[in-house]
């Protein structure tokens, strides 16, 4: 780790002010701190967001949920159990207790790791990413592997989730990291079904249009008979080939449909 300065502002405004120059926001540090320890990044200053009260907690908002950007996974897991069980289940499966009590939803969404879980929930739910300057629809926010619509110095202050009628997240864990080798989030709304897939594509989280079309007309596992995911563009690594990931995408989508509630 290289030396850096640390600021702990108490408000979003102070955080934004502190984020000029070579400063970087620090959420739960569960991604950033290992990166720093390996000397893969050299920020001059870290601005910690976890002391900002207005960025923490879960509230109902317009028939949906608003989750503060600095809310840790454990709080999402316990706080959405009744209101959005599929989201609670997703949060409860991230990492281990230490990770869940530190890592934040804002950090996960900002990082947009191609194997991370929250991007699938945000995209399938049609969530809105709320930042220090604007609101961005999830469909516009996730731009590719580790790439998002965030500008320098922009902070995710919260995520607004519409709550679907039925939903389920099915994660097939990469054996070592236990991130998603493939994760599929299926959400059924009155207007139709949204299916988001993480872990599989080299471009990061994506919506699986064919499955959405099939499930929007018939929300049942059989509706997916003959629907296959395209392996081109999918990740091949020591944990699984592109073909395996494409296969898992279909298997997990089917399982998500049968377990959605």
């Amino acid at each position: 780790m290289y030396a850096f300065e640390l600021e702990r502002p108490g408000s979003v405004a102070d955080a934004v002010a502190a984020l000029g120059g070579e400063a970087q926001p620090l959420g739960g540090g569960q991604t950033l701190i290992p990166t720093l320890k390996a000397r893969l990044a050299m920020p001059e200053k870290l601005v910690s967001l976890t002391g900002i009260a207005e960025m923490k907690g879960i509230s109902s908002e317009g028939g949906g949920l608003r989750i503060g950007g600095a809310t840790c996974h454990a709080d999402v897991a316990s706080g959405t159990l009744a209101s959005y069980p599929a989201l609670a289940g997703l949060a409860a499966q991230i990492g281990d207790p230490a990770v869940r009590n530190r890592g934040t939803i804002g950090g996960s969404v900002a990082n947009n790791d191609p194997s991370a879980c929250y991007p699938a929930a945000a995209l399938a739910s049609g969530a809105t990413i709320i930042t220090s300057t604007r609101e961005v629809a999830a469909d516009e926010f996730f731009r590719g592997m580790f790439d998002t619509a965030l500008e320098d110095g922009e902070i995710i202050t919260g995520v607004r989730f519409p709550v679907p009628q039925r939903a389920s997240y099915q994660k097939f864990a990469q054996p070592a990291s236990r991130f998603a080798l493939v994760g599929v989030f299926v959400a059924q709304f009155a207007e139709g079904v949204r299916v988001a897939v993480t872990g599989a594509s080299g471009d990061g989280v994506f919506r699986w249009a064919e499955a959405e079309a099939a499930l929007s007309s018939n929300f049942a596992p059989e509706a997916l008979d003959g629907v296959t995911a395209d392996a081109s563009g999918m990740i091949s690594d020591l944990h699984g080939s592109a073909a395996y990931r494409a296969h898992l995408t279909a298997v997990l989508t089917r399982r998500a449909v049968s377990q959605a509630h």
Partner: protein, 787 residues
């Protein structure tokens, strides 16, 4: 033999381990201590064109920088075992320098070291070293290494370290038996490379005292005396009496901390040069890249059978990866710890093993929990399972039919060992009972009802532990003896310190060894402590590996205690005015046979140190005895294992549902410790079978160099274990009758798991005959697609 065997005793070392008050090398900070950081090769193979340290030397806090140039005059880190090839020529033994010189030979090979005031300053300066390499093609694949003409070590002009035959005289008979056999089953397999992953990374700290020219090395070692011997006799030439090696608490080793590593020599040299203590602590990446790895065999095995299913011959051809340099036991592991076990538990008359050891541009490979015996067991027990399937025979029946029977001991195996005791049928009987094999059909049906395929795998193993008789290993090429030593010191106030050569780093010696002495003397074990891991305090020791601690060092403790009893009886006889031949020791009291005159152990101890009225020509003052124990033979633990798995036909994911391990460890001193050792071994063996996937790419980069990609077994990967050691047959040649339990789980479990997965796939209509470990979901799914 101790009388209270089977009494459950909690481990006394756990009080400090569980409360975070252990004292590991990195916990020790010395006044004025400096920090060492190593510059490590980013490439697998290359010529060092330039190492410019001028900018680095000018960095803040830098005290010294070393490169390979600084160590050209000192010796190499040697292989401990000389292997001769089939043609009689000695193995190739290229020098393993303290720091790479001329060439770097694997990713992580250290080519420079920076000493600075703080680790951060050393790291900053290390990054400022300007090194230039001419990259050469990486030699990674063993077959390509043997056929190509690029060499890891140019000076030897080959990548073959040796081409060994065991037993060469049996080769023709084995070939003939296979040629004429009714049935031959052939299996080609890979025994996957493993990264040891001790919880505590390696750490070494040296200090030097100019006035006395004495060095002290604190280091993470399973084997402090061997480390001292190697540094003194081969590498730095520091006289043994001027070098103390201390291995304090060590957080796991699994083999990887048996060996001497260059970092230890470097901190010693740096401490002398600077006149300051110097410490190096590995980070996790260094552990992945530079700890000696395990296994990595590519093997073809053939089993010949007659029409009745009797085994006629095993013939094995193996390529064993030794990595870029020979680590200390790397040449023994694939040969004498592997080839000699290739008859398994069976009366098979013909065995021949050929092992080619191959240099590659990868981390050195050496003994890792089980060391050679897991490789042997895996090959044998997989090919037997395959044969049973080909012949339509029940795999248990086939094994039982060929087992060595209880009345055949001592049994001379066709692979050259003499098994002293065992009862493989009894183990199998007990396994069948505990594992409830009768209920398997119903459990399979229940799995199928939820869409899962269920498989049953069984296995029988034998291993050679209690390593090892010096005269035998000397004939076989060992450059060291493999005895062990203990000193029992009775203090004047009646409590005892027992100095033992075996180092304890999780094995529970601090609990088990005092029990041996306490039982022999009839005194309370709480008044006895062991001392280990410090060459200045203990007589000598060959360390902890090969499940040898209790069988060899424990036997030395018995011998030393016997000497204590002889002398204590003389003192008691003097005190009681009787003949020492009439003195009896019972429950810590010495008495004259047939009388009620007696003295307590404590009174005798006090008298030994306050010998006012001793007949000094007959009895020396003091009560302290040392014994060196050299075993007469290996010990031969054996077992019968059973595993049930479920395979998810949609994803290929395997889950281990049930596991039964019935082991013959001979006598058991502390059942709780033994069960814990089996649990740990099973975790590692199941990890090898399903999870641990060391992967180098074609450029020699280790792709699985962190926990993001290297899968360690976790509690939820493992089922409840049914462990039983009720069927012990005592070892016939050591005084405790013990056999050794540290490695069994890791030896017996991989074939058990793989046999079960193959069975599950076949039950699901996928006639898969073999899959290489680790059986990751992707591998299992891929196999289902191709059949």
């Amino acid at each position: 033999m101790p009388k209270d065997i089977n009494e459950v005793v909690g481990r006394r070392e756990d009080a400090r381990f569980l409360t975070g008050t252990g004292r590991y090398t990195d916990d020790i900070t010395q006044h004025n201590q400096a920090a060492a950081v190593f510059a490590r090769s980013p490439i697998a193979n290359g010529i060092i064109r330039k190492i410019d340290v001028s900018a680095a030397e000018a960095m803040p806090g830098v005290l010294a920088i070393f490169t390979g140039e600084d160590f050209t005059e000192v010796g190499g880190n040697p292989a401990g075992w000389m292997i001769n090839s089939r043609d009689g020529s000695p193995m190739h033994e290229p020098k393993r320098p303290v720091l790479a010189h001329g060439k770097v030979r694997h990713v992580g090979d250290a080519y420079a070291a920076v000493i600075a005031e703080t680790p951060e300053q050393a790291q900053d300066a290390m990054e400022a070293i300007d090194a230039d390499f001419e990259e050469l093609p990486a030699i990674v694949d063993m077959a390509a290494a043997l056929s190509g003409d690029d060499y890891v070590h140019d000076e030897i002009g080959t990548n073959q370290c040796f081409d060994w035959g065991w037993i060469e005289d049996n080769r023709a008979a084995t070939d003939a038996a296979i040629q004429g056999a009714h049935h031959v089953t052939t299996l080609e397999l890979v025994n996957n490379r493993l990264v040891p992953n001790a919880m505590e990374p390696r750490c070494s700290m040296a200090s030097y005292h100019p006035a006395t020219e004495e060095y002290v090395l604190h280091t993470t070692s399973q084997n402090p005396h061997l480390t001292r011997l190697l540094i003194s006799a081969f590498v730095l030439g520091i006289p043994e009496n001027k070098l103390t090696v201390i291995a304090p608490d060590v957080g796991g080793g699994f083999g990887s901390k048996i060996y001497h590593y260059g970092e230890e020599a470097l901190v010693l040299a740096a401490a002398k040069k600077l006149g300051r203590p110097v410490k190096w602590t590995a980070d996790r990446t260094e552990a992945f890249l530079t700890d000696a790895h395990g296994r990595d065999h590519v093997t073809k095995i053939e089993l010949a059978l007659d029409a009745e299913g009797n085994f006629l011959a095993f013939r094995t051809e193996t390529m064993a990866n030794v990595g870029a340099y020979l680590s200390n036991f790397s040449t023994a592991t694939p040969t004498f710890l592997h080839g000699t076990l290739m008859a398994g538990n069976y009366t098979v008359p013909n065995v021949y093993v050929n092992v080619k050891a191959v240099f590659t541009n990868t981390a050195p490979v050496d003994a890792y929990r089980g060391a050679g015996r897991p490789e042997a067991t895996y090959s044998i027990e997989r090919v037997i399972d395959k044969a049973a399937r080909e012949l339509g025979m029940d795999p248990i029946t086939l094994r039982r039919q060929n087992f060595v029977k209880p009345d055949q001991y001592p049994f001379a195996s066709a692979a050259g060992l003499e098994y002293d005791s065992g009862n493989y049928d009894a183990l199998m009987d007990r396994m069948e009972e505990i594992a409830d094999l009768g209920g398997f059909t119903a459990r399979r049906a229940a799995s199928e009802a939820k869409g899962m395929w269920r498989g049953l795998g069984i296995n029988a193993y034998i291993e050679a532990c209690g390593i090892a008789p010096s005269n035998l290993v000397g004939v076989l090429g060992s450059r060291v003896g493999l005895y062990d030593a203990a000193t029992v010191r009775v203090n004047a106030t009646g409590n005892l310190s027992v100095m033992v050569g075996a180092h304890s780093h999780g094995q529970g010696h601090e609990t088990a060894f005092p029990d041996i002495v306490a039982d022999m003397l009839g005194i309370n074990a709480a008044s006895i402590d062991i001392v280990h891991g410090d060459t200045s305090k203990i007589p000598f020791g060959m360390g902890t590996y090969g499940s040898r601690s209790l069988a060899v060092c424990g036997s030395a403790v018995v011998r030393a205690t016997e000497k204590i009893i002889v002398k204590a009886k003389k003192i008691a006889a003097h005190m009681l005015e009787a003949s020492d031949l009439d003195i009896e020791l019972k429950d810590g009291v010495f008495s004259v046979a047939g009388t009620n005159s007696s003295v307590s152990f404590g009174e005798v101890a006090l008298k030994a140190y306050i010998p006012h009225d001793f007949p000094i020509t007959e009895i020396e003052p003091g009560l302290e005895e040392t014994a060196f124990y050299d075993p007469a033979n290996f010990t031969y633990p054996s077992g019968a294992y059973c595993c049930e798995v479920e395979v998810d036909p949609e994803t290929g994911k395997v889950s281990v549902e049930r596991f039964t391990a019935v082991d013959d460890f001979g006598n058991v001193i502390n059942p709780m410790i033994v069960t814990g050792q089996v649990h740990g071994g099973l975790g590692q063996g199941i990890g090898q079978a399903l999870l641990e996937h060391t992967t180098y790419d074609e450029n020699g980069q280790l792709l699985s160099a962190s926990y993001m990609d290297y899968t360690m077994p976790r509690a939820d990967d493992l089922p409840f274990f049914h462990v039983d050691h009720s069927q012990g047959t005592p070892c016939t040649h050591n005084p405790l009758g013990v056999k050794g339990c540290g490695e069994a789980g890791a030896i017996g479990s991989p074939p058990t798991v793989v046999n079960a997965v193959i069975d599950a796939l076949n039950s699901g209509g996928k006639p898969v005959t073999h899959l290489d470990m680790p059986l990751t979901p992707h591998r299992v799914w891929s196999a289902m697609q191709t059949v």
